[in-house]
Symmetry: D2
Subunit: 145 residues, 4 copies
Amino acid sequence: MSLFSLAARVYWEDTDGGGIVYYANYLRFLERARTEWLRSLGHSQQELAQTPGILFAVAGLSIEYRRPARLDDELTITCEPRADRATVMHFAQRIYRAAADEPVDDRRRELLVEAEVRVVCVAARTLKPKRLPDFLVAALALERS
Amino acid sequence: MSLFSLAARVYWEDTDGGGIVYYANYLRFLERARTEWLRSLGHSQQELAQTPGILFAVAGLSIEYRRPARLDDELTITCEPRADRATVMHFAQRIYRAAADEPVDDRRRELLVEAEVRVVCVAARTLKPKRLPDFLVAALALERS
Amino acid sequence: MSLFSLAARVYWEDTDGGGIVYYANYLRFLERARTEWLRSLGHSQQELAQTPGILFAVAGLSIEYRRPARLDDELTITCEPRADRATVMHFAQRIYRAAADEPVDDRRRELLVEAEVRVVCVAARTLKPKRLPDFLVAALALERS
Amino acid sequence: MSLFSLAARVYWEDTDGGGIVYYANYLRFLERARTEWLRSLGHSQQELAQTPGILFAVAGLSIEYRRPARLDDELTITCEPRADRATVMHFAQRIYRAAADEPVDDRRRELLVEAEVRVVCVAARTLKPKRLPDFLVAALALERS
């Protein structure tokens, strides 16, 4: 299984008066990585909202803040998805302080954040749970093998 | 004409690593005041998006940052609307450092931000310009008199 | 023990393209309630950062999203603090869709979000854990009794 | 003169309930481009805040919203700086809907936003205006020639 990862930079918009990234804003970085993982499978959320008419809603998450990220830091956000039930995906995600071109398994990278995110596939119109589309079921099966 | 004003508090989410409110976030305070002015006329934007099917889109703005707001500051955001053309409203807006219960014309209040915001009424479906609804035309006429 | 609660309104800034509050932004509402609880004890974070030189850093949290909040919703955010160790507070927090003047134990209120937030008291300079100040220890002891 | 440009993607965090990018959030994209232009000159803001102890504060701006950006859009943000006075820079900035690998002068690109941003160099401690550092004066002179 290859771990999906995304690089991002910390800008002023992400920080707060404590000089570090505001605790809610790490969730934005986590979401970007999940979105780019989906795009890496060939699908955008705009398109999936049209056909087959689905959205992904975060149902719950837990997050541990290990070390603060600061202005100008280069972050690597990782994303390990797995299917849970027919309508639910789990993502184990981490944020490291690390340049994008460093190997993702470099042990010198500093772990900043660890999170578990539960995402439900819902019908775009009704927001009711709906089965994951086949391309996701296939991708998540591959992840597992 | 009575000047509309809204009180708001500065929280961590509004600040950046410089210890002051992030420059984009003043636009959130300005929008809250415009929304509450509209609500003071008896209308919410959710409801207007349904009937008669209109949204308000900011078409342009200019803003001057006089002094920075800081964590825990109490702000007063003012809002002076006027009609421009059949489809456009202008808002002269100011943000003061001031407790909500201080008189709005208190000269000791510190002026932090001044802005001019141009808002277009558009059809919710097509996003094309649409005439302002009658209740707004009436309210804006009152403002002028 | 009296449950602390804060009222807040959902504005455009809080929503995302799905028409509901963006999942990270609920954390902003939670933080506002914790900040106002602290202020209700007579202390602001600006002041505590000066004397005795402490900040409160979120060390971890879990959150369950039950139902989405929407534009114009009135929210009530509750906050039940308890001391954990000498340097750590836990907050059980909930967000309801509910007008500010409805009784906080009204069973008709819709529960939108439940969260557990772990907050560490740290030295403002070094960001290293520091004992909770006496006024907080006293307040948290009262909560328990 | 070479026009500086930065590519960025629109994520859920940037959109609002109208399905388009929230009007304040374009200012975040504009700031990212100014920050990366500075970095392209070999300097980060963290470092400049230490030595020679300066920050850049936005003193005012005007912005015109031509067309809305939407979820998943690829944006190109441009940045044309010029010195104004000894302590002030002006940035003419534009946001296009355009993939990063399209030529920056492609006429088919859709112009979404135009802005003029006035930035003051201030002392990090006092927030009082301070002369632009030599490397910036030199870079801005080059831009002009």
